[in-house]
């Protein structure tokens, strides 16, 4: 188990003084681009530390059992290792808990259906918009914003930190900004794929290299899993769950566009070997199952994405693709973070 200090080194953050306004200079792992940070929420040392405490604090839930980390656990790929999320009183949600690795690059929409988005063009504050959602969800953390703010204001350690960071007592706006700031430090790059792209021809095994070619070529994966974050931030219907009598309509519930029925946001594939089970409902247990699913062209339905067609890959090609996903996108600098000491 790594110490807290080394965990921060793994996040590639440059440690600095504890002054509340001290800017955190983020050092980007190989392969990741400079991220867009909201102008009204610059990264600071103290804010990130505060956000980390909030992220790991189960007191943000009604019965003090569920924190952000309960469903987005660093030890489980920043997901939860289960098909769906589990909230207070053991309640089960309808969708899986997506990893928050590289969520910093999701500047437009968050949640599987994109219901939280940036406040305006160029604001890049979708993470802030997302941060308070699960707290208020009755089957996740089940507190109103008034309740959680009042609860945290009774904790002197939080009140002091909010005064130092934001110049106010605890506010929901400050909570969102702090949590989002912490999440912006959870980065994965410097993978064998990134090294290969940077010119190290030996970074990928032969099988992974064959899989890489398929991924960006005939297998058509990069039509949606594009960019250095391996997501186009778009919404696609791949057919998962569409065989049910009352399928989860996903993005359609937000946009009311028929074409969005059954569409869900493209997840990142960084560290995917750690984030099983897969798909928005956790219905596929292994990457082999996922590749088999796509090889068949997804599940046919009227809104099936036009990028999905039967691939008819050989067993060997499917294995190569899985190898690329597992080996190529797993970083030796995985962002491990230990829970911090929480304020009293």
């Amino acid at each position: 188990m790594r110490s807290l200090g080394s965990a921060f080194l793994l996040l590639l953050l440059v440690a600095s003084s504890s002054a509340s306004a001290q800017e955190y200079k983020l050092k980007y792992p190989l392969g990741l681009k400079k991220m867009k940070i909201p102008k009204d929420n610059p990264l600071t040392t103290a804010k990130i530390e505060l956000g980390k405490q909030l992220y790991f604090d189960a007191r943000l839930s009604r019965d003090n059992t569920i924190s952000c980390a309960s469903c987005h656990d660093p030890k489980k790929g920043w997901s939860n290792g289960e098909a769906v999320a589990t909230g207070v009183r053991g309640q089960k949600g309808g969708r899986g808990a997506p990893t928050i690795i590289n969520a910093a690059y999701q500047t437009r929409h968050t949640f599987w259906d994109g219901r939280a988005g940036q406040s305006k063009f160029g604001a890049n504050d979708a993470l802030e918009a997302q941060a308070l959602g699960p707290i208020q969800n009755p089957i996740e953390m089940d507190l109103t914003l008034d309740e959680v703010v009042a609860k945290l204001n009774k904790i002197e350690g939080y009140r002091k930190q909010f005064q130092s960071v934001f110049g106010t007592d605890v506010t929901s706006d400050g909570m969102a900004k702090a949590i989002a700031s912490f999440e912006r430090t959870v980065l994965s790059g410097h993978s064998p794929f990134d090294k290969f792209k940077a010119g190290d021809e030996d970074a990928l095994s032969e099988a992974a290299e064959r899989g890489r070619k398929l991924f960006f070529g005939k297998a058509n994966c990069s039509a949606c899993h594009a960019t250095s974050s391996f997501t186009d931030q778009g919404f696609h219907n791949v057919g998962i769950g569409m065989d049910k009598d009352e399928p989860d309509v996903g993005r359609f519930a937000v946009t009311d566009q028929l074409g969005d029925r059954g569409s869900f946001k493209t997840p990142t594939l960084r560290e995917i070997a750690r984030t099983a089970p897969y798909m928005h409902d956790g219905s596929l247990k292994t990457l082999e199952e996922v590749v088999d699913f796509y090889d068949k062209g997804g599940f046919a339905n009227p809104q099936l994405d036009e990028e999905l067609l039967p691939l008819e890959m050989t067993k060997e090609k499917k294995a190569d693709l899985v190898t690329f996903l597992k080996e190529g996108l797993s970083s030796s600098d995985y962002p491990e973070v230990e829970p911090p000491k929480l304020p009293e």
């Binding site: 058509n220 028929l258 074409g259």
Partner: protein, 334 residues
């Protein structure tokens, strides 16, 4: 480097547009069109040609009325809901008599870029298969086939075509113009690899000769449209800017040099319109202000006449059995 970029951006920011253009500047030239998706102005005659896409034909405007020029194009379906029937798409004249039509009705890999000798006004229409020449971008072991040849833009040497087949690449293809004919049609720019955003759609040539592409982005995502400048000769990306627009369908420079874009806005078509793209500086960064000039109902293509008159096709909204497509004419003066 910065100086170069500022000089480049100045190309499309010569002056500010006025506020929303008055309705009395807008005239409906043709109504009842069926998903019109392309417009071009014939050199010499000034006749306006329109891809009446779902009607499977190209028409020209003569004395204010539509006259069929080329008919019986194949028709396909675009979108998952709403869905649009589409046939011929982008149009461009190589010379007075030579019209290039980008197809949208066939499967990727089978789609055709067709070259016609157009009959004179008043003459009989010709069939879509009566082209002088045609080109396709078939698939291979490594590449998907291409289709939906949406926008056409040309300079003296090349015709550029935005394609919508391989979503891993987002190709802009091009053909050399040799002795007034097209040759060597092939994939040119992998715009998705260059910009990390889907779907090149709008295209034009800047007054200084750069190839300018409007990247549509995801139709289920608002505000992800990009404006990208490329060296038209070697394809090198010069400048890539977020616009705040959602689904750019067309780009065009007015004779004064200002750049305009049409935005379809799939998620909220009531927000669609004509926009002037104005350069801004945010510290050391270049940005764009997309200033709305006109509300438009699902705009698809536009072309400026030499006198500054602007023609825009819109899919519009059907009224009962009457198709909602229109060709609009915007008085010179933008």
């Amino acid at each position: 480097m910065k100086r170069k970029l500022f000089a480049l951006i100045a190309l499309f920011t010569l002056c500010f547009a006025s506020a929303a253009y008055a309705d009395d500047h807008v005239e409906t030239v043709l109504a009842g069109l069926d998903n019109p998706c392309g417009v071009a102005i014939q050199p010499g005659t000034g006749h306006v040609f329109v891809s009446d896409s779902a009607a499977a034909k190209i028409v020209r405007v003569v004395d204010g009325k539509a006259e069929a020029v080329i008919t019986d194009f194949p028709i396909g379906v675009y979108g998952k809901g709403p869905m649009f029937n589409i046939g011929p798409l982008g149009l461009a004249f190589l010379d007075k008599d030579t019209l290039v039509v980008g197809g949208g009705g066939l499967a990727d890999g089978e789609e055709l870029l067709r070259v016609y000798k157009v009959p004179a006004a008043g003459g009989d229409a010709i069939k879509a298969d009566a082209m002088e020449k045609s080109f396709k971008l078939a698939g291979s072991e490594e590449l998907k086939g291409e289709g939906n040849f949406y926008a056409l833009a040309k300079n003296k040497k090349f015709l550029y075509v935005t394609c919508n087949g391989d979503d891993t690449k987002g190709w802009v293809s091009r053909a050399r113009i040799k002795d007034g004919a097209l040759v060597n049609y092939k994939r040119f720019l992998a715009t998705k690899e260059a910009t990390e955003v889907d779907a090149p759609v709008g295209a034009t040539i800047s007054p200084r000769g750069e190839l300018v592409i409007g990247q549509m982005g995801e139709i289920s995502v608002e505000g992800d449209g990009l404006l990208t400048f490329y060296n038209a000769k070697n394809g090198k990306i010069l400048l890539n800017l977020e616009t705040g627009l959602s689904d750019i369908t067309a780009l065009a420079y007015c004779p004064k040099g200002q750049l305009y874009a049409t935005d379809f806005v799939w998620l909220n078509t009531k927000a669609g319109g004509l926009f002037q793209l104005i350069s801004k500086k945010d510290g050391d960064d270049q940005t764009i202000e997309s200033k709305k000039v006109l509300d438009l109902d699902k705009p698809t293509a536009m072309a400026f006449a030499d006198d500054g008159t602007l023609y825009i096709t819109v899919i519009g909204t059907a009224d009962g059995d009457k198709k909602g497509g229109k060709l609009l004419k915007i008085k010179a003066g933008l």
